[in-house]
């Protein structure tokens, strides 16, 4: 068990190192930051000074070493645009994105699990067919289009909910959160729903498939033969087997929830990392782009690691194999 955790940890480190190389190279290919950093009217001496200040006159490998050294110190350099630490700029935006992604995850689970359970238990009912058709829509409609429709309907036509920004926030642990104020919640609702759409369909379908796989098993029939109530059979015998695939996939997908928030944040002007990265790409703000990409790598690798651990905890069969 412990050795397998250590092994996975080393694998994760390798992935991160490989990603630093890719990110570094990729970013050096897009555009020349000198063009936006320097006033076109500046003279030659002025240009040289700025280039030297940002280390852009150094050879590529030298820049990579500096980049790695900076990484270890959490220093990605200063943002070209904001003139402050790139990491700090990102971290300021992180709570907004995290809040959005977590809300979407909660919606996906709260809506997807019960509906999937119902559709799995009563596959022939009319309601189940409606649920399943709905989930196809959730899969196939593009997020940006649905987002625009939400705004048109709920903000413009009905005027029920605001369509941009985070609204009123409360500061906890040095970070600002919307979900603790009524105004913030109203601002959060539409973008969270928009981001949750795809994952809700995913959770729903996973749950239904899981139920249909578990129900015909002998151990469910044996549970009935023991005289257990239907409630206990579903909430313990079915659900516990179901949670293995659901937790695994949902955990792995949480990273993409953060990554895909780019679209939703842009539509709803949600001031998170996603909106920041789009702005930064437009402005070729290299340190911020690099910091964002590295952060994504860390989030994905970290989630994978955590999901692996959860999987081991949920499935006793895997636990035993790991012990051997």
């Amino acid at each position: 068990m412990v050795t397998s955790i250590i092994r996975r940890f080393i694998q994760a480190l390798f992935v991160i190192v490989a990603m630093t190389v890719i990110v570094f190279l990729a970013v050096n290919v897009i555009g020349n930051p000198v063009d936006i950093l320097i006033n076109p009217d500046a003279n030659q001496a002025e240009r040289a000074r700025v280039i030297a200040e940002y280390g852009l006159d150094q050879p590529l490998w030298r820049q990579y070493i500096d980049f790695l050294a900076g990484l270890l110190r959490g220093d990605f350099g200063n943002s070209f645009v904001y003139g402050r630490s790139a990491l700090q700029v990102i971290l300021e935006r992180f709570p907004a994105t995290l809040e959005l992604a977590l809300s979407a995850l909660v919606i996906a689970l709260v809506v997807g699990l019960p509906l999937g359970l119902y559709a799995g238990l009563r596959p022939r009912s009319v309601a189940s067919r409606i649920i399943m058709s709905g989930s196809i829509l959730g899969f196939s409609l593009p997020t940006f289009w649905v987002g625009l429709m939400f705004i048109l309907l709920f903000s413009v036509q009905l005027g029920w909910l605001p369509s941009n920004g985070r609204g009123e926030t409360v500061e906890i642990l040095g970070m600002r959160w919307s979900f603790l104020t009524e105004d913030g919640l109203r601002h959060l609702f539409l973008p969270a729903l928009n981001l949750a759409l795809f994952k809700t369909s995913l959770v729903l379908r996973l749950t239904r498939a899981g139920v249909q796989e578990v129900l015909p098993q002998d151990y469910i029939k044996f549970a009935r033969a023991k005289g257990l109530s239907e409630r206990r059979i579903i909430s313990v015998h079915v659900l516990k087997n179901l949670m293995i695939p659901v937790v695994t996939i949902v955990g792995l997908e949480f990273g993409s929830l953060i990554a895909f928030s780019v679209v939703t944040e842009s539509i709803f002007a949600w001031p998170g990392m996603g909106k920041l990265i789009i702005d930064s790409i437009n402005l070729l703000d290299r340190p911020v782009i690099v910091a964002y990409l590295m952060m994504m790598v860390l989030i994905f690798v970290g989630l994978n690691f955590i999901v692996d651990l959860c999987y081991t905890l949920l499935d006793p069969r895997v636990r035993l194999d790991a012990k051997r």
Binding site: R224, G227, S229, H237, L320
Partner: protein, 333 residues
């Protein structure tokens, strides 16, 4: 005295697309007294398991009991609602399944799977339930039951898992246990151990047992009565001592001839020729006539059920001593 279990003209069907439903169990009647052991035998697919599930009220949808009555302790099970049926299952009628590798839930500890069975029927605290579960494990011969309670099913061998399933079935000392080929998936030595332990435990509790099997050797050792099933119908029933020494139905004879025994060891066993008919496409009359050596034109009509003392059979040309009396079909009704 009324029988503990009385099955009357049971028909259990599975609907098919664009065809008449499959009658997996067709007009089956038998009864079982308290503490008696009935061996239900027949080839695979003959409807033995479905008979068991029909009694438990656990026929897989869209299959259903289409006709007939099942009385348990004088009560018609068709009159019970879902909750009353649940209270009967596990407490008064328990079942053990064929494949011990599939019967226990892989993600729940043995303790959970045992105590939940107790708590589903009786009010008691966790500690008491745990103690009873532990005692039940010890009783079926599982070493260090206290520790094994917290294990998961995959940490047990097949034989041990079947012992756990038997321990679960015995938790409430039910009046009836339906054992659906519980040893078929196990090694011969383990089979023998489990059969003798099961027999001892059932006898101690005066539990009636329906032992489903395709193995006549087990039936002759274990059962008081036998019911031979072929293609959904009971073709012969009666006390084991009579049926297995002097069978009336040709199918019973065929089954007996295909059992390895002392005097046939080394010799080629006589197999019943042909294949079990698909229940979707049954021969008319006596379904066995496509494979029966004694068949003639009379056999294409369904033979009536013929009673001879405690035993019964459905055959127009019965084997054995009383064969001549019965051959016309008019001597009996």
């Amino acid at each position: 005295m009324a029988a503990l279990l009385e099955v009357k003209n049971l028909v259990t069907e599975f609907p098919r697309h664009g065809a008449a439903p499959v009658k997996a169990v067709n007009d089956v009647s038998f009864s079982l007294e308290k503490g008696r052991v009935l061996g239900l035998v027949g080839e695979s697919g003959s409807g033995k398991s479905v008979t068991g599930f029909s009694i438990m009220g656990l026929v897989d949808a869209p299959g259903r009991v289409a006709a007939g009555d099942i009385f348990f302790n004088g009560e018609n099970l068709a009159d019970l609602n879902a909750e009353e049926m649940r209270r009967l299952r596990g407490r008064h009628i328990a079942m053990v399944f064929q494949d011990p590798m599939m019967t226990l839930n892989p993600v729940l500890r043995i303790e959970t799977q045992m105590t939940e069975t107790l708590l589903a029927h009786e009010k008691m605290d966790r500690a008491e339930a745990r103690a009873r579960a532990r005692d039940a494990l010890g009783m079926v011969g599982i070493p260090s039951p206290e520790e094994r309670l917290s294990a998961y099913p995959h940490e047990f061998s097949g034989g041990m898992r079947q012992r756990v399933a038997i321990a679960i079935a015995l938790l409430h000392s039910p009046e009836l246990i339906i054992a659906d080929e519980p040893t078929t998936a196990l090694d011969v030595t383990i089979q023998a151990q489990i059969i003798s332990e099961f027999q001892r435990l059932a006898e101690e509790r005066d539990t009636a047992v329906i032992w489903i099997t395709h193995d006549l050797a087990i039936v002759s050792r274990l059962a008081d009565d036998i019911a031979v099933m072929y293609a959904g119908r009971l073709v012969e029933t009666g006390p084991v001592a009579q049926v297995l020494t002097d069978p009336r139905h040709h199918y019973t004879r065929g089954l007996m001839d295909s059992v390895p025994s002392q005097n046939t060891r080394g010799a080629l066993l006589k197999q019943i020729p042909g294949m079990t008919p698909s229940p979707a496409n049954l021969p008319s009359g006596c379904s066995f006539h496509t494979r029966c050596g004694g068949a003639d034109g009379l056999c294409t009509k369904l033979p009536p059920e013929i009673w001879e003392g405690e035993r019964s059979y459905r055959c127009v040309h019965p084997l054995g001593a009383r064969a001549l009396d019965a051959i016309t079909g008019e001597a009996v009704s």
